[in-house]
Symmetry: C2
Subunit: 184 residues, 2 copies
């Protein structure tokens, strides 16, 4: 970080299902692999692995370990515009629990370079646990990550967390912009 | 982290030139590439790139970007034994500024799995900046990393930092053990 940035509010932002629309890619892949649609309604309130027939459970997880799978995930609507604005006012870190799929680490690096070119790689954090993050805010779709985080946790709505009630919730990037505009 | 680990002292530990003996591998490689030795004395007080003839400067850095280069670096003497002991009493994170050489990310994951099998990948942090680390201690050979860290910085002696006087200094892993035995 530059010296002049000391003291700025720091916001850590999750990658999958917050910045990257990983679910859209996974649903497309499911259709490609099995010839049937898995709808947003089918996965409401659960993980994808728990919404598919038991014999497909392993395969829907295994594709996350394929080289290249994480390289062309679409960016979440409005994420680019709002992150660019946020990064002009706050210190932004993109923090992803990437250790579950270590083959994807380099793909994720390249993805961040392509989709968020206004951030340098100084702001990337590929970690096993979000307990290690020192930031004022963490925006994440996983309640477990928010629980171990020491700052203010903000839950980003995803199919699997819709029944969670313990955190400040944002539904998409425009609501993130509205939340942080008040702090600006 | 497990629930019962809450409240434990957290120690973040750098990888290159602290846990991994990267310099030994780089000196071996230099001999292989140029047929001459670069000695420990030659690199005292400076970075390797500043100790070689100008026309070799680029190449001695470029090899760090080769796939596989980071995979077979030897572990630093006593690091394995001391880290195993530390991990039984403290929360340990291995935090490496790996973004300068993103091709090495997966190699570093595999290295950590091989050389530190008693740590899970929950404790790996591949980050662009050590400003993001929330830990009580950081053991690092790079004064710049210690400067941006918010906890207690401990400088691990390396060829390039021997003239640095601003930090608590440890000369090797046995001194790390002695330092933390007092806190145990």
């Amino acid at each position: 970080m530059d010296e002049d940035r000391k003291g700025r509010i720091t916001i850590a932002v999750d990658l999958d299902e917050v910045t990257a629309d990983t679910v859209s890619k996974r649903l497309l892949r499911y259709r490609a692999d099995y010839g049937v649609d898995l709808s947003r309604e089918d996965i409401n309130g659960k993980q994808i692995r728990d919404a598919v027939p038991p014999e497909r459970k392993e395969a829907v997880e295994a594709c996350l370990d394929e080289p290249g799978f994480s390289r062309d995930i679409p960016i979440m609507p409005n994420a680019q515009r709002v992150l660019k604005w946020l990064s002009s006012r706050f210190d932004i870190f993109i923090a992803t629990s990437a250790m579950d799929h270590p083959v994807s680490l380099y793909d994720r690096y390249l993805w961040l370079q392509e989709f968020l070119p206004f951030l340098t790689d100084r702001s990337y954090v590929f970690c096993g646990s979000k307990k290690i993050l020192k930031a004022d805010f963490l925006i994440d779709d996983n309640p477990r990550n928010l629980e171990m985080f020491s700052g203010t946790g903000i839950l980003f709505t995803a199919h699997h967390n819709i029944y969670e009630t313990h955190f400040i919730r944002v539904n998409g990037w425009n609501e993130i912009a509205a939340y942080f505009e008040r702090l600006d």
